[in-house]
Symmetry: C2
Subunit: 198 residues, 2 copies
């Protein structure tokens, strides 16, 4: 099993998957990692809807695709370099939904305040992505579909207090993922006050 830094420094979004299935055992190992994230007051306000059915995945993929075509693409096209744009587009237009498993990560405001959900649910989602990477699975943090909360709520029978916050595909990468491209940490670090540099 790879060490923490190897996984963290190598994590990269995967948007193309092989057809091979992912076992319940592996899905549950990823969810176990997710549920060990910190949360406000240890309320553990996350819920995970694990979607395998081709019909449900296609419906979620349809929400991604229509959100992409209906506006997100125009915004991204002006900002992204062509290679990344093509990869994101491929994911939004069926690549993500073709993964054998989609995990819809939700926050529940029954035990936590809605305003505190992001600081708990996104760390849990990150644990899920890291666990997937450690197991050799491809995954990605996607939020296109959650902009369509009413439709997603209907598809997944979500109660009113449960907010979908990310859709994470799990599958075996169609091809090896290259290394991530990041600015150096020292360029993002400031001593004592903002702008002081490192």
């Amino acid at each position: 099993m790879p060490d923490l830094f190897e996984v963290v420094l190598g994590q990269r979004a995967c948007r193309s998957f092989r057809d091979d299935d992912v076992s319940d055992e592996l899905v549950l190992r990823c969810l176990e990692a997710a549920t060990h994230a910190p949360s406000a007051e240890n309320t553990q306000p996350w819920e995970f809807v694990v979607v395998r059915s081709a019909k449900q995945r296609a419906a979620i993929g349809g929400l991604m695709s229509s959100t992409w075509v209906g506006g997100a693409r125009a915004v991204s096209a002006a900002r992204l370099e062509p290679g990344l744009l093509a990869d994101v587009e491929q994911g939004a237009q069926g690549g993500i939904a073709a993964a054998p498993v989609l995990v819809v990560v939700c926050g529940s405001s029954v035990r936590a305040f809605a305003s505190t959900l992001p600081a708990s649910v996104y760390p849990a989602t990150q644990n899920l992505l890291l666990a997937a990477a450690a197991l050799g699975l491809g995954s990605a943090m996607t939020t296109l579909a959650v902009h369509r909360r009413p439709e997603l709520t209907a598809l997944l029978s979500l109660p009113e207090h449960v907010e979908p916050m990310a859709v994470v595909p799990l599958g075996w990468p169609a091809r090896p993922l290259g290394p991530p491209r990041r600015e150096p940490a020292s360029a993002k670090a400031h001593r004592e006050v903002f702008g002081a540099g490192w």
Copy 2:
């Protein structure tokens, strides 16, 4: 170096620290992990203000303490069991601010939409916490001080577009941390639709 699952499944909030310092080298390793989180369009919209000065830490600690006494405590007291309440209170009332390093994790809306910041900045914060745990450091996700954005903005000279989103102490734990307490992942997992169980 411990493997990914060992770190993820053992992570726990630390709110009491020894006086010993944490080197720049270790801080930068934690920030390098943080900057490898996924972000919308790979915009990497995070900034980290690394606070070491006793005066700045005390000022941030003052914001935590006054937010706690001024309302957060009353909310938590009704919800938490006494052991956890005492630990959180000790952290809010000086324990967190006594760590030799406070990392104020911020989101910048220059390159990313403000609405997309939580899904990028909190995964980065989680990477920071996991890296700290892998290195033997204690840390915690805290958000009490960020409710006082105007005061924090003034203290850290944050530009208007930079939003403080978490304050993470880094230090050596005063005592060993016990194992985290979590509900089983299967209790949080649903097949195909919410409420179907696992």
